[in-house]
């Protein structure tokens, strides 16, 4: 039986740290994209005309109900045939951000619907312009309630970043596979990667729970 080899861990560190940086980069940029795009979808759900509402519903339901891995492959292998080509990292970040935007859109929607109708009515009674009603009245109240839920999707997104290994993005899992391919050591690199996920995700989920207690009341 194989014994644990600390030197293999040490050997993996340079690759691992590169992978960690890529994972965090995907996570940060993907989150920002999903937060922004999700908000746009959510506002689209409430558009005054169905010519906006229906397409927004159709697109978000389509994306939400197809697997992320299929979308990754589609973006990476199919779009280039139509002349749209990005690096694997950019493709992966966009795909995961767009995919998660359809989840955050539902979170925003719930947060917006939880704002009492009286708030809209008061804004109308004061003739506040629509944009100002959103930015000064509705969103500050909605977002406060949904920060924990958005945070949980960031954690979920973190755990989905290994899918990007499927299109050869050099995130943590892909780095461990390269390491294993070079050294035939599997246990140490994969363990390091697994532990790294726990070390990021568990404190983050504790933070979200604390935020939930503070914000949602």
């Amino acid at each position: 039986m194989k014994t644990w080899d600390w030197s293999a861990v040490a050997d993996f560190m340079p690759r691992f740290l590169d992978g960690l940086l890529v994972t965090l980069q995907v996570l940060v940029l993907g989150s920002l994209l999903s937060f922004t795009l999700g908000l746009i979808w959510a506002i689209g759900f409430r558009a005054p005309t169905r010519f906006i509402r229906w397409p927004v519903h159709a697109v978000t339901e389509f994306i939400r109900n197809t697997p992320l891995l299929v979308q990754l492959f589609f973006f990476f292998f199919v779009l280039p045939e139509f002349g749209v080509q990005f690096s694997a990292l950019t493709t992966g970040t966009i795909a995961i951000g767009v995919h998660y935007s359809t989840y955050t859109a539902q979170v925003y929607r719930a947060g917006i619907e939880a704002v009492p109708p009286g708030q809209w009515e008061a804004a109308t009674a004061l003739s506040l312009p629509t944009g100002r009603t959103w930015t000064a009245v509705i969103l500050p109240q909605a977002i406060r309630r949904i920060v924990p839920a958005l945070g949980n999707y960031v954690i979920s997104m973190l755990k989905d970043t290994p899918l990007l290994a499927g299109i050869s993005v050099l995130e943590m899992l892909q780095q461990s596979r390269l390491e294993s391919a070079a050294t035939f050591q599997y246990t140490e690199p994969l363990t390091v990667v697994g532990v790294a996920f726990i070390l990021i995700a568990y404190p983050a989920s504790l933070l979200m729970r604390a935020l939930e207690r503070r914000l949602v009341r």
Binding site: Q119, S127, R144
Partner: protein, 265 residues
């Protein structure tokens, strides 16, 4: 049916001058349905500038819907509503904002913005809609808060105030827009009994010292008697009786009005 309203007590009211018939608010054959339920049925009524009109009647009789129509929170199915001769629901929807700026509303549930402090609640619209500078708006806001007895609570958040205090802030917020028409929708119904008087005192003060036209839905009959120039009795989406408060409250003509008043008084 039309409400016959006595001549304005403020003679030479500037708003009344360019209106031959002296009407500030006019409902012309307005019908509003919610599903199969006809809430307002071919309603006609009008109010002159500076008048205080109180709408009474059983719940579900359409009183609040009148205020919500005026505030453009719901749209009429038929008929026209004009403010100072201008259609409140013009073909060009952008024009709504211009006409609506004349109207302020105070709600049963206050509807203050909980994410803003008290002063900001009041200054937000004057700055964003009327184009006042922040300093001007805050000065106006502080004056109004003094008037409603809350000059020292500028920095408080709405949730730190009692219901009565919140409602007085909401009144100040509506007045900060210098509306010509103030709509009061059961403004004391959500308050603890001991807080009602403070709010009504503020409203009496406004009624007696300004020439703002008031349209008031209330179950506070004594208050209605105090401030009203005219009382409209509603039942099933129609005005069934109207007249000065002395007449309606002491010697109503309709049996239905008599029944209603004996139930609430």
């Amino acid at each position: 049916m039309s409400a016959d309203i006595t001549p304005p007590k403020t003679a030479g009211d500037p708003a009344a001058k360019h209106l031959p018939d002296g009407e500030l608010i006019r409902f012309d054959r307005v019908t509003k349905r919610f599903g199969k339920n006809t809430v307002l049925d071919n309603l006609c009524f009008s109010a002159r500038p500076g008048k205080h009109v109180t709408l009474i009647g059983p719940s579900g009789s359409g009183k609040t819907t009148i205020l919500r129509l005026l505030m453009t929170l719901v749209t009429p199915d038929e008929g026209t509503i004009t403010i100072d001769g201008e259609n409140l629901y013009p073909a060009d929807r952008r024009h709504v904002r211009e006409v609506r700026k004349n109207i302020g509303m105070v709600f049963q549930q206050f509807n203050l913005f909980p994410n803003m402090n008290v002063l900001r609640n009041i200054t937000e619209a004057p700055v964003r809609v009327l184009g006042l500078s922040r300093d001007e708006a805050e000065e106006r806001g502080r004056e109004l808060l003094d008037m409603v007895g809350l000059g020292d609570r500028c920095a408080a958040k709405p949730t730190q105030l009692s219901g009565g205090q919140q409602q007085r802030v909401a009144i100040a917020r509506a007045l900060a827009m210098r509306p010509r028409i103030l709509l009061l929708d059961e403004v004391t119904s959500a308050l603890d009994p001991e807080l009602v008087a403070g709010v009504l005192d503020v409203l009496r003060d406004i009624a007696h010292t300004t020439d703002i036209t008031m349209l008031c839905v209330t179950h506070e009959m004594n208050f209605a008697r105090d401030i009203s120039d005219d009382v409209l009795m509603f039942d099933s989406g129609k005005v069934i009786e109207s007249g000065p408060p002395e007449k309606i409250f002491t010697d109503p003509e309709q049996e239905r009005t008599r029944e209603f008043l004996s139930a609430v008084l």
